[in-house]
């Protein structure tokens, strides 16, 4: 029993097949590996340099932003204080956090419940309905934008946070698909045992399924947190009072508000990006494998 639970608790691990290694080892293989690492390091530089440059520029004195040198002289952390002094950045960060947390909590529960229905319960028309779920994943969001706006407008919810997260209460096709894949891996024996003990279907969802797919739920939570934190489009549409801006929308407004103050833009960009970096490093192991599973069986 313990073994089964343990195996099911880590459904994230993609079965690892050892990299193809033809049984030939010549000196050219070593040279090949060396060349490979040269390329890998060069690419790493391409991916990392923009970050380094962003951070360093955000620490330059405003009038030296255009100087070719990378290292600020003198170092000028004052930019960050200026960002907070010029714009309600604390408020924007708080707004982003509220929207992201509400979005995460609602999407985790709704999507997992829906995925449970599709993965583990039998009812007529399930297959067709799931095809519909997948179709909505491919549906371009822009088609429904205007009527959706009109609905929120009618409800008096423009310039509130509801339009930014409440759609998550209905699940999201992408996560439903992903969690369904994970729910398939849970051994039926566990469910049968619980049934014999008298557990109902929702008790099974709550007490067996949810705990066993925690790693997958963590992936969903982190993805959705990022999606909401980074989202620019919905806040742009639904929120037009400065004190209700999310950080992403607030950052975009810098372009108009502080037209040439590049150091401020860069500092504010770092402020927006940093929480995502921290989150990523905390959740890295889950994340990368979570992304990996989404494309498979697509």
């Amino acid at each position: 029993m313990a073994v089964i639970v343990d195996a099911a608790a880590r459904p994230l691990t993609v079965p690892r097949v050892t990299a193809p290694r033809p049984p030939r080892q010549r000196p050219t293989a070593a040279a090949g590996q060396f060349l490979l690492y040269v390329v890998l390091f060069a690419l790493s530089a391409l991916f990392l340099l923009p970050f380094a440059w962003l951070v360093l520029t955000s620490l330059k004195p405003p009038d030296e932003v255009f100087d070719p040198g990378w290292i600020p002289s003198p170092w000028y952390p004052q930019n960050y204080a200026d960002v907070f002094a010029n714009a309600p950045v604390g408020r924007w960060l708080r707004n982003s956090l509220i929207v992201a947390v509400l979005g995460v909590v609602s999407v985790v529960f709704s999507s997992s419940l829906v995925a449970y229905g599709f993965a583990r319960l039998r009812f007529r028309g399930k297959k067709q309905l799931f095809a519909l779920v997948m179709a909505t994943y491919l549906l371009p969001q822009m088609v429904t934008l205007i009527p959706t706006f009109l609905i929120w407008n009618r409800l008096g919810a423009v310039n509130t946070f509801y339009p930014l997260w409440a759609g998550n209460l209905f699940g999201s096709a992408f996560y439903i698909f992903m969690l369904r894949q994970f729910l398939f891996t849970i051994p039926q024996d566990l469910v049968d045992a619980a049934r014999i003990d008298g557990a109902g279907y929702f008790r099974i969802y709550w007490s067996i399924m949810l705990p066993l797919i925690k790693p997958a739920l963590a992936v969903v939570a982190v993805f959705e947190f990022q999606a909401k934190w980074n989202d620019f489009f919905l806040p742009l549409i639904y929120v037009n009072r400065t004190e209700l801006y999310t950080m992403a929308l607030g950052l975009a407004s810098f372009k108009d508000e502080y037209e040439t103050q590049w150091a401020l833009w860069m500092a504010a960009s770092v402020i927006l990006t940093l929480p995502m970096m921290l989150l990523f490093f905390l959740a890295q192991r889950f994340l990368v494998e979570g992304v990996a599973t989404t494309g498979l069986k697509g």
Partner: protein
């Protein structure tokens, strides 16, 4: 695979009398959030936007039926809409193949690495978690024709340094470059697909005398073609709806000669950007975009039958 091998506690006679079983009821309840959302936020809006596209609607007064007028104006009497269409297609045609090719290239490289693969994977993925607004700011800077990082490098190497963010010709490549930096998502999906190719296939091919290229073309590509198809299809749908980059890197009108005015930006401008809501006209734009996306997706699915290899016996 969610078969229930045990006999359920309900006696057979009782199950027959009920119109719907407990399990089916639980199933419907559990998917009800999605079902409700589908009706309220997808089904109804989809049809409503079709209806609005035949009307003139400013939100204040009720919609006024104008028949095909919005479509007629869009297709024959609007200078910006054809431009937005052209811009979007040009962008998608550049961005999607390049994104698929480069992320596949990066995944292949990573898959070869025997040491530190995880470290490189993390580094390559990092840009993908950066908020689009920040990436946009970063790249207008990096691609700034005078002070930008890229052109300083190009001049140092005595290569031509294009006027990236200024010359209308280079505006779309500018956005494409900024998007290549964030290829991490598709790269990781492809890397996972590469890892799932069974090693015995490579060994068999090698024993048959297949060289590196043949092994890639005849083993790797067919085995990952399903995932490649997924990446390309989703990438196309997203590219056709490009918005944030054009809006933030340039402005809502698309910068120099409106070269970055994409369909969704034009839709946004008509619906929300002018001070008066032109919901009917914007809905017509949305529906044209919808028809285009569906047509291209269906075409990609058709085409996929020729090149995507599906293992038989896939249970789903």
């Amino acid at each position: 695979m969610a078969g229930l091998p045990i006999a359920r506690p309900i006696p057979a006679g009782a199950a027959k009398r009920r119109r719907i079983s407990d399990e089916a009821l639980a199933g419907w309840i559990s998917i009800s959030p999605w079902l409700l959302g589908f009706v309220v936020f997808t089904g109804v809006p989809l049809l409503a936007s079709l209806y609005f596209s035949f009307t003139k609607y400013d939100v204040i007064r009720s919609p006024e039926w104008v028949g095909l007028d919005n479509y007629r104006r869009l297709l024959t009497n609007d200078r910006l809409f054809p431009l937005a269409l052209r811009n979007t297609f040009t962008y998608a045609l550049m961005a999607v193949p390049l994104d698929v090719a480069t992320s596949l290239g990066a995944a292949l490289l990573l898959n070869q690495a025997r040491r530190w693969q995880g470290v490189f994977r993390t580094i390559y993925y990092l840009p993908a978690i950066t908020p689009a607004v920040a990436t946009s700011y970063l790249f207008i800077w990096i691609l700034n024709p005078n002070a930008g990082l890229l052109n300083r490098g190009l001049r140092f190497l005595h290569l031509p340094a294009p006027q990236w963010t200024v010359d209308p010709f280079w505006i779309k490549p500018t956005i494409v470059i900024s998007q290549l930096w964030v290829l991490g998502g598709s790269m990781i999906i492809l890397l996972a697909a590469l890892k799932q190719v069974p090693a015995p296939l490579y060994e068999a091919a090698w024993l048959d005398g297949a060289g590196r290229w043949r092994r890639f073309k005849d083993v790797t590509l067919p085995m990952i073609s399903g995932v490649l198809f997924f990446v390309a299809t989703v990438g196309t749908i997203n590219a056709l709806q490009v918005f944030t980059q054009g809006y933030v890197m340039f402005d809502k009108n698309g910068g120099p000669e409106q070269s970055a005015l994409f369909i969704v930006m034009y839709l946004y401008n008509r619906a929300f950007g002018t001070g008066t809501f032109q919901m009917g006209y914007a809905a017509a734009i949305a529906w044209i975009l919808f028809v285009i996306v569906v047509a291209i997706t269906v075409f990609q699915f058709r085409l996929s039958k020729r090149w995507v290899y599906y293992e038989s016996g896939d249970e789903r």
